[in-house]
Amino acid sequence: MLYNQPDPLEVKVLSRRFTLPNSQSIETYLANDGYKALEKALGLTQEQIIDEVKASGLRGRGGAGFPTGLKWSFVPRQSPKPKYIMVNADESEPGTCKDRLLIEYDPHQLIEGVIIAGLAVGAQQGYVYIRGEYRYLIDVMDRAIDEAYAKGILGDNVMGRGVKFHLATHSGAGAYECGEESALLESFEGKRGNPRIRPPFPAVAGCYQSPTILNNVETFCAVPPIFLHGGAYFAGLGTPKNGGTRLFCLSGHINKPGVYELPMGFNLMRMIKEVGGGMRGGKKLKAVIPGGSSCPVLKADECDIAMDFDSVAAAKSMLGSGGVVVMDEDTCMVNAALRIMKFYAHESCGWCIPCREGTTWLKKLLTRFHEGMGQRSDIVLIGDLSKNMLGRTFCPLGDAAAMPTIAFVEKFQDEFEAHLDGRPCPFEKSSRLVAV
């Protein structure tokens, strides 16, 4: 069963098998171009594979948008240590729910992408780190892995071509921070999910301190189409330096929320109006978070932009993980800022002072503020504290908490002011305070 109906505007590359009956099964997969890309890649050298990925203009779908081919090329050719492929299926960025579908509907596409990554750097072992809440996906993935082993696609002799590649799932247990690559690796090694000092980056010292390719689920899933149709084809789907399509997760006050695969650079307003079916109840658009909760909010008048990494960055926000959260005129921006800060305070690993103390302070401050006990000086303080976190924390979680907060305060100062002097939240009905 699909969670939302496809939209005619979609360009279905990664999601094209989602609608097939029994799409999870290897039979469906094989009958629909499955493992043909792998077949091709098996005939290529490591350089050729990496070059093809570079040519595709694929950029990481986990959030930062780092060019994937370039990342793969950082893995040292020669290494006395085994190399690893790590799939980041921790998907925890609020507003994001796409990796879930990629695994649920088409697990073999992921497996195929991972094996190709293995070929690219000479790794023989891969792991899929799946967030603990996605328990059922672990089962989906395990079944698909078993099928792939049974068909000789995984194992000591991949497709009979003398190459070895093994893959296994790994369960997380509830921690947003474990989506951050180095914290994920710590967690994978059975430790607390504290991030690591970088450099060295995972490409050099990742899983078990060995060279590791670590990418988001969607990034790996884009790999088979790239080899099936060519890097140039994939690049052509998007905008310059932003190859391919993206799974956008539309949520919030729109008529047709859902996950839609659209070309990179698709206009945001169009996305809301045409794909998302417009605002719910005919309300007015107030703001959009364009790429998950850590991305600075865009005001309605800033939403006429192309949704690719560079264009959104030019608008001083980020494309992030593809979570597009749409907010209407009745939304309280103070409450939104509060809820998001509450999240970061809950998820801060506690390692560094500015993040640990900053998020907690801001959460308390915003709670008090939203309750009508704020003072004018608090508005300055909120912005100030956020700026004191920005760029100074151990890992980007601190930035992820600071950036949206700064944007909320700067762009919606009037709403913050409306909460002053003991006045109740003007939007109380539509967005109630939540328990801590």
Binding site: I197, E347, G350, W351, I353, T360, K364, R368
Partner: protein, 700 residues
């Protein structure tokens, strides 16, 4: 060595070794970059973010504690941005930190206080509620106050990396994070207390010290721990005539800031209720208090009588008393009492080692060697239990130099956790395993061999022969027990050896033989408890005992003279590696005298004062410098740091009497007779026993 890297910091061009961290390079050049989590020698954390600096061409500020200097790098530590960042980090830190400085033990020596003073954030904009958790007691000596903790993880690393114990961890997440002990609600560890000392704030406090005093009310006296032979410097915090605590925060001394439970807490015997404060003589079978003059008179009279009729004396010296006292004692015994019957409890075969190494030089390991060298062979000893500082050094060498360890022991020892090879052999059989290790050991560029008391006599020669045949640079260390065991041998507290390993040419009874003798007319025991293991054969022998407590030996005495403890006197002691260090008096106890003074007074009372000379430690030390080879070290140099002696460089043609050599194998919480009088060591052992009983009961 690789080429130096040139870089600029605050406008100054500096050259430093490649790989040097900016924070270290700055410090070496007198520029302080504040830090909480960075701690020299421990793994890097980059957690506190206090050390942010500006680096040209980098968009964001960088943490100086993990950033290696690069050629041409331009670093700025005193810009507006950096100042603001420091202030804001402190402001963040103070949000959940209680402002209970007035009652906090750390007040006055708190790194957080100092930083707030220096870098601002005195007035906070935080008006929300602070998080609170209750204080916890983790052991008789360790308390943890969660809210004060700034999560710098120094304690966790000091325990795991420094001690190899890993008894501290981090629980919860985010602002709720706390440090936690390894056994649920309590600690099971070495109780070394280093976590307390290394804590920059008052989160970890000492059960022995907490709420007793303020740091500025104390005088800080650096002296040498009187327990094991490792010779750690302990800085005693003294208020009035009371020792309030022991630590070594200034990192002076061979041990840096290392201290074990004994060095840190077990000074507390000095004011034990059973401490003897007045001389006693036996009257009608009972020890009765008398004045010093009466007691000394009696001893002098008795000794004088025996001396004049050439009666037989026995003198037993101590492993705890100073070099000066030992030297003075043997001198008085040999020249004043005309006897060679002098001995002490021998705990390791230093004599044979020195003899076996004759003709070589520089092959006795120093404590520094145990950190500097890259390979170690450990034979027949549980170093972490019996020589915690030596174990600490080797562990640090493993961490910092990837040193290779080899162990041959009867039971599992901590060093095995990171040893290259581990061999299990019963005590006394260890050397049978040497050939097994030959290939490994010969491949090492340098090696230190450390052996316990099961290797003695010919076995030592065999071991040295093996070591010398490896063809690399080998150093040795023969383990001994107590704070001045080594000094006792050096100073000639045996019949066969005069000070400086000169053969006496005469024989004499050992401690054991003295106790068994029926012919001894007088036995003089200075700071030892030989009767611990059984009574004396002769009932008639006149026994004089100098001690702090009414030990088994003192109870048999005819005269008991109350002696000062190591913390109540000046002088020098020599540690297991032959390093001489100075004792400095921290307190004075009522009614007691130092052993040196007591010996001098006896000599004086006997009219033999001229023979022994003044009982002034520095004067006696001057004589030691002249007489004892290897000890010609000016006191001024000792005042600065420990100096290794090189006792002889030639044969020591005596029989070391290996059968007399026996270590007491004191562990972390025992210390011979002295250990009995430490309340803290007792409380630690008792709490462990009651826990293990509880656990046993819970299981049955």
């Amino acid at each position: 060595m690789a080429d130096l890297v040139k870089f600029t910091i605050d406008g100054r061009e500096i050259e430093t070794a490649p790989g040097t961290l900016v924070i270290e390079a700055a410090k070496k050049n007198g520029i302080e970059i504040p830090s909480f989590c960075y701690y020299e020698g421990l793994t890097l954390q980059a957690a506190c973010r206090m050390c942010l600096v500006e680096v040209e061409k980098m968009p964001k500020m960088q943490v100086a504690c993990t950033l290696p200097v690069g050629p041409g790098m331009v670093v700025r530590t005193d810009t507006e941005q950096v100042r603001k960042a420091r202030k804001s980090t402190l402001e963040f830190l103070l949000t959940n930190h209680p402002l209970d400085c007035p009652v906090c033990d750390k007040g006055g020596e708190c790194e957080l206080q100092d930083m707030v003073f220096r870098y601002g954030a005195g007035e906070s904009r935080f008006t929300e509620n602070k998080l609170h958790v209750d204080e916890q007691q983790w052991s008789p000596v360790v308390f943890y106050d969660g809210p004060r903790c700034i999560l710098c993880f120094r304690c966790v690393r000091a325990c795991e990396e420094g001690m190899g114990v890993a008894a501290l961890g981090v629980i919860n997440r985010g602002a709720m994070s706390l440090i936690a002990p390894n056994r649920g609600d309590h600690l099971e560890c070495d109780e070394c207390g280093q976590c307390i000392d290394i804590c920059p704030v008052g989160a970890l406090t000492s059960g022995a010290y907490r709420y007793q005093t303020r740091p500025w009310e104390m005088e800080h006296v650096g002296t040498i721990c009187t327990h094991c032979s490792d010779g750690c410097k302990t800085t005693l915090g003294v208020r009035g005539d009371e020792i309030m605590r022991g630590n070594n925060r200034d990192r002076s001394g061979v041990n840096g800031e290392f201290l074990c439970a004994k060095g840190r807490y077990a000074y507390d015997f000095y004011n034990h209720a059973e401490r003897i404060q007045t001389p006693m003589v036996r009257v009608g079978g009972k020890l009765e208090p008398v004045s010093w003059s009466k007691a000394l008179e009696l001893v002098a009279r008795k000794f004088g009588e025996i001396r004049s009729r050439s009666g037989e004396f026995g003198v037993i010296g101590s492993n705890h008393t100073t070099n000066e006292e030992n030297f003075y004692l043997q001198k008085f015994a040999r020249n004043g009492l005309n006897t060679n019957n002098i001995d002490h409890h021998r705990t390791g075969d230093v004599v044979t080692l020195i003899d076996a190494l004759s003709g070589t030089s520089g092959q006795l390991a120093t404590t520094q060697d145990l950190y500097d060298k890259k390979a170690f062979l450990i034979i027949g000893t549980d170093l972490a239990m019996e020589h915690p500082f030596l174990s600490y050094q080797i562990r640090a060498s493993f961490r910092h130099h990837a040193a290779h360890l080899y162990t041959i022991t009867a039971d599992k020892v901590r060093e095995e956790d990171y040893a290259v090879r581990t061999i299990r052999r019963n005590a006394g059989d260890e050397l049978g395993a040497l050939e097994d290790l030959r290939a490994n050991l010969a491949a090492e560029a340098e090696l230190v061999i450390i052996f316990g008391d099961s290797v003695k006599g010919d076995a030592v020669r065999k071991l040295v022969e093996f070591g010398q045949s490896l063809g690399n640079a080998v150093k040795y260390c023969a383990l001994v027990d107590y704070s001045n065991s080594r000094g006792a041998v050096d100073m000639g507290l045996t019949p066969e050896l005069l000070p400086g390993y000169h053969p006496s040419g005469a024989s004499g009874p050992s401690v054991k033989e003295m106790l068994a003798s029926q012919t001894l007319e007088a036995l003089w025991v200075v700071g030892a408890n030989p009767l611990k293991s059984g009574p004396m054969a002769s009932k008639k022998t006149f026994v004089v005992v100098q001690d702090m407590f009414l030990t088994e030996t003192a109870q048999r005495a005819d005269v008991v003279l109350p002696a000062a403890s190591a913390y109540e006197k000046n002088g020098t002691v020599t540690n297991v590696c032959g390093e001489v260090q100075r004792l400095t008096r921290a307190v004075s106890a009522i009614g007691v005298k130092t052993d040196l003074e007591i010996i001098g007074l006896i000599a004086k009372e006997m009219g033999l004062a001229a023979l022994v000379g003044p009982w002034v430690p520095d004067t006696v030390y001057g004589e030691i410098r002249k007489t004892v080879k290897g000890y010609n070290i000016p006191l001024a140099m000792l005042a600065v740091q420990a100096q290794q002696t090189a006792p002889v460089n030639g044969r020591v043609p005596v029989n070391s009497r290996p059968e007399l050599i026996q270590s007491a194998h004191d562990g972390l919480f025992t210390s011979g007779t002295l250990g009995r009088y430490s309340k803290i060591l007792h409380s630690v052992m008792e709490s462990r026993e009651s826990r293990s009983q509880q656990e046993e009961m819970a299981h049955s």
